[in-house]
Amino acid sequence: METLFGIVVDGVAYGMILFIISVGLSVTLGLMRVVNLAHGAFAMVAGYVASYAAQGLGLPYAVGLVAAILFTVLATLPLEKLLYRRIYGSANELAQVLLTIGLTFVIVAGINYLFGPTLKRIPLPDALLGTVAIGPKSIPVHRAFVIALGAATVLGLWWLLERTDFGIKLRAAVDDPNMAAALGIRTERLYTATFALGTGLAALGGVLGAELLPLEPYYAIRYIVLFLAVVAVGGAGNILGSAAAALALGIVDTAGKYLIPSFGEFFFYAALILILFRWPHGFFQGRAA
């Protein structure tokens, strides 16, 4: 019983980190209809900025986190204007894949040149070090912090997309851009804002997840499969779906590793296949799918 509890707690912690990084991808893929394979690269850039802010400039963790998100969003907005705007709307998926994977390679090479190939870390503040007990199981404070922020992200995004003016306009623009424009909704601005939202979430995940997915220049390529798996299972554009998918995959993966470690990643991919077999469009059919 205690073991089972331990597996669930570890699985939820791992799943929440997966969720925080992947949900931004779900937003761009589901709402903007852009297969943004550079998502991992944006997360990585934010991680490097936070690492530099903390270690190079000596700023506190929270300041580094905010700076990393702002920097990444501001740095990628020109990309949105110059590049992404041309590939919105899934008219040509191949062009999307080629453009974004090319962008990923450019960012990988740039980071490698600027920071070198060695690992970087973001030092945690004292408040996030140590362990906290949840019943009979103790987990690192940092993970508990990430779980809490993950839960806040789920609620915040749900509220933003379902309950605000912005969300209503965005959904209208996604469903029928021409009609939305005819009704006076400024779709271009909406798209820019949504792109910034997706990038900001990538940045948040890159910084918070750095303890689990260590920062090195190949981060962008190494982990993108994980993020895509979560989005595929959750259903693109579906916030609650992404959360459920990340938690399910996190728990399955953790249980598999605990019970039969030599099977490796078998359980993760087996779960992926089974879920997609039963729910081809993800847990909750995505709004945009």
Binding site: D10, Y14, T131
Partner: protein, 394 residues
């Protein structure tokens, strides 16, 4: 036009005059295959810098022959590509020696080629025991998992520790390490209570930590290849409270290699490892090696076990060139270095005639903070350790 022609004539005359002193001088090329780009680029960098340090200290000529190193980039484990690069080096560049190799499969792939061309191959890193069994022209100057693990397992047993869990990455060297530890430790009366093979691509180590906790082990033996995974593992070990619970952490030194120490931070403090080289090794030769490195490249922070593997590899190649008088003869060159002994920055080393692997002192190290910097402090040495995993006649 005529001016250029005159310059060319003058240049030729000047070159002839230079060469007159050493009429039989030749340039001998050594092909180095290693990752110089991609996720393992630091390895290639350490190889190249160590060779340059060696050449700066010992000159570029041996017995009148100039030794020139030619580098080929192999960015990740890729045996087919490794073989193709080796072929290119032998046929087009006419190299007389092959060297380098970070990954075992890449080193193994060139075995038929070096036999056919009769070229010696000096391995700077690849650490699976089976490699030198595959061709008599392999010589290795690094270490093997068996070599590091056997003295470690004996040491753990002597500490009075009876129950150990092993956790290794699920591939060749990891399984070598697991087998070596289990055999030695159980022979010494201990018991391995759980053997965990972790997928190479693991990012979350919490479930493994829970398993180790549940197994009731007093200590763990862990091996993971240096890089992002070691970082995750060492941090999980301290974050999940295993360290605080008093479980001891043992492993080969890859897990606390010098370039990773600043990132590992306090999570690394107290990890006990066995390895052939530590930057903190206390000898004049090592201090000279590090000083020269710093002089040439501005910093010696990235100097690690792969540096010393390449440095000693260059030394072995120099002796081979000397022994064959500049002619390419793999069998003769390898025969000349069998039993060769010298003092390296890591301490006294010797090429074992049978396994053609380096016999060396394996040091017991504890990671600690000294003057604000983390280092692997050597606390004891086990001299003359051979490769216990070598099986002759295979």
């Amino acid at each position: 036009m005529s001016g250029t022609f005159r310059k060319a004539l003058l240049g030729t005359a000047f070159l002839c005059a230079l060469n007159a002193g050493s009429a039989w001088a030749d340039t001998i090329k050594v092909g180095v295959i290693a990752p110089f780009s991609g996720p393992f680029a630091t390895v290639g960098q350490t190889f190249k810098q160590a060779i340059e340090v060696y050449q700066a200290q010992h000159g570029k000529t041996v017995a009148g022959n100039t030794v020139e190193f030619v580098y080929k980039d192999l960015d990740q484990a890729n045996p087919a590509q490794s073989k193709a690069l080796a072929q290119e080096l032998v046929v087009k560049e006419k190299v007389g020696y092959l060297a380098g190799f970070f990954f075992t499969p890449d080193a193994l792939a060139v075995a038929p080629l070096i036999d056919e061309a009769n070229i010696p191959c000096v391995i700077f890193n690849a650490a699976t025991s089976a490699i030198t069994e595959k061709s008599p022209r392999y010589v290795r100057t690094s270490f093997t998992l068996w070599q590091n693990t056997v003295p470690l397992a004996e040491h753990v047993a002597k500490q009075g520790i009876r129950k150990v869990a092993t956790a290794v990455s699920d591939y060749g060297p990891g399984i070598d390490g697991e087998t070596a530890f289990k055999q030695t430790f159980e022979k010494s009366g201990g018991k391995v209570v759980d053997s965990i093979r972790m997928p190479l691509k693991s990012t979350d180590f919490a479930p493994f930590m829970q398993r180790i906790k549940d197994s009731g082990a007093e200590a763990i033996y862990a091996f993971l290849p240096a890089g992002p995974t070691t970082l995750g593992f060492a941090r999980a070990f301290s974050d999940t409270g295993l360290k605080a619970a008093g479980i001891r952490f043992f492993g080969p030194g890859d897990i606390t290699q010098e370039p990773d120490l600043p990132v590992l931070g306090d999570a690394a403090v107290g990890i006990t490892t066995t390895f052939n080289y530590s930057q903190a090794h206390d000898s004049d030769l090592n201090r000279q090696f590090l000083a020269k490195h710093k002089e040439l490249f501005g910093s010696s922070d990235i100097v690690t076990f792969t540096s010393v593997g390449a440095y000693d590899g260059a030394h072995v190649i120099y002796r081979m060139v000397e022994a064959t008088g500049g002619k390419s003869d793999g069998a003769k060159a390898v025969a000349a270095v069998k039993g060769m002994a010298w003092e390296s920055p890591r301490g006294p080393v010797r090429i074992d005639p049978e396994s053609r692997h380096v016999t060396q002192t394996i040091y017991l190290r504890v990671t600690e903070r000294k003057d604000g910097r983390l280092q692997n402090t050597e606390v004891a040495g086990f001299p003359d350790q051979p490769d216990y995993g070598f099986k002759a006649g295979k």
